[in-house]
Amino acid sequence: MQAITIDNLAKSYGTVRAVDGVSFEVRSGEIFGMVGPNGAGKTTTIECLEGLRRPDGGKIRVLGLDPQRQGYELRERIGVQLQEGSLPDRLRVGEAMEVFSSFYRKPITWPPLLELIGLADKSKAAFGKLSGGQKQRLLIALALVNDPELVFLDELTTGLDPQARRAMWDMVKGIRDKGKTVFLTTHYMEEAEHLCDRVAIIDRGIIVALDSPQNLVAALEAENRVVFSVKEKIDAAPFKKIPGVTRVEQSEERVIIYGKGDGLLVRIVMALESGRIRFRDLRTEQPNLDDVFIALTGKEMRD
């Protein structure tokens, strides 16, 4: 059962092709993430799915509906948190929940929802007086007042501090665990890796990869790195002999050993021991989605 199917979506602004032939499917009950740098086409795609933008070409079905022709019916059943959406500063938290609830055929009772997002004691607070994280949580709560089957979250944690970001991740997992489908966009690879069941990497309006974060990283077949610090120059030869090691680098006190395979770390530590080399700050670095992005696009994620 697919929550979203999108086939060859295209949208241009003037001469700029914001989305250039994007196709994918989102399964019911998964957290699907679209990641890529700013300007890659994420928001355009999400807004076409929500029916807020008219595509130039391609076919979209969201919960079996056409967002352009059946937009009102669709909006009964989806929840939307916009990247650039806001509320009047003088509107109070409880009033916002009450008003937005009243737009839907079957709203849920909202006070428990405020409890859930930790704003129960802020019911009388004005929107403009809330912190960035509190505003974001309220906007998510508003996206849930109709008990939607599918929730869109656009740049959910941009501008939040790390602690608020973690809290937000738990909230999103909670939404998925209630059986809902989540479609989110982010330009934080770490967020996609932590949160998403499947990830589509988009760059310049084109999907360059789509899979689970684990599979994407595994497909890279990238090397692990073992990093440590030493007091003086080491002899690289014994380390190069270790099976799986491809390269040894030293600059000043810092040594990086590149390699693949299980047991790499153990063998390196044993070589250090037998060579009586005193080392400190040893750690391993695994390839992550950032490396996937660099490998696929040949550039760093711009922030």
Binding site: E50, L52, Y72, E73, R75, E76, V80, L82, E84, G85, S86, L87, P88, D89, R90, L91, E95, E98, V99, F100, S102, F103, Y104, R105, L139, L142
Partner: protein
């Protein structure tokens, strides 16, 4: 329409919480009335056709209230809501766009009406304002003027690229409307040249219409005013519908 009642209530609450808007809608005109009432009283004056200062000021100040809501309240609030993404947020719900606009207009209309009622009460209780018109007729004239000016306000909001520009343009249009059309300074006091020019300002037609209806003149005597305001309303609605932007 689901949710419309709650939405209108929300718009009214938000309006009342904006001190500047509330001041110009509900307090400014009655304050002027008290000020000029204290100076001139409300004795019948041949200069005003046998009426007192208060008698002619109350219907004129109705135009003043309408101008401040139409040219300062609506453009600023609408453009600011658009800029902040408030309008976008409402568009993601099943709410029809027309329902949102309607709730806005209804709230502005009701607040303007409250301003007028306060003005009339102050005039009546404070200075024994004389009224010899038909209430229904006056309400119709008021409603026509309000809708015409609101339509112009939405056009300003739609054409201005930012809230700051909407504010500036609204002000630039509001001041001549307030001072050259007889809305604050009685037309009888203005020099002939200004009065000639004033005829091209829509607010002068609101003042003429309301002052006429206030003393019981019939609509047939005010076909020009009705036609001008009706024309402004139709043109304004057409332009507003063509230019309105959600983002």
């Amino acid at each position: 329409m689901r949710g419309l009642g709650k939405l209108i209530l929300m718009q009214i609450k938000l309006y009342i919480r904006e001190p500047v808007a509330t001041f110009f809608t509900v307090i400014f005109a009655p304050m002027l009335l008290v000020l000029f009432g204290a100076i001139y009283g409300n004795k019948p004056n041949p200069f005003f056709g046998g009426r007192g200062t208060i008698d002619i000021s109350v219907p004129s100040y109705i135009a003043l209230i309408i101008i401040s809501v139409g040219f300062m309240g609506i453009p600023i609030a609408t453009a600011a809501d658009r800029e902040a993404g408030v309008l976008r947020r409402f568009r993601t719900t099943p709410l029809r766009p027309s329902a949102y606009i309607f709730s806005n207009i209804a709230a502005y209309y009701l607040m303007t009406l409250v301003g007028v009622i306060v003005l009339v009460i102050v005039g009546k209780a404070g200075y024994g304002m004389r009224f010899s018109g038909n209430i229904l007729s006056c309400w119709l004239g008021f409603t026509l003027a309000v809708l015409a000016f609101f339509a112009m306000g939405y056009v300003v909001a739609s054409l201005a690229p930012t809230a700051r520009i909407a504010q500036a343009v609204g002000m630039i249009l509001a001041f001549p409307m307030m001072f050259l059309g007889g809305a604050s300074i009685p037309m009888e006091v203005l020099p002939q040249s200004v009065r000639n020019f004033g005829r091209f300002i829509p607010s002068s037609h609101v003042v003429t219409l309301m002052r006429g209806l206030w003393i019981g003149e019939s609509w047939t005597k005010h076909l020009t005013e009705a036609a001008v305001l009706g024309g402004v309303l139709i043109l304004g609605m057409f332009l507003a519908a063509r230019t309105f932007r959600w983002e």
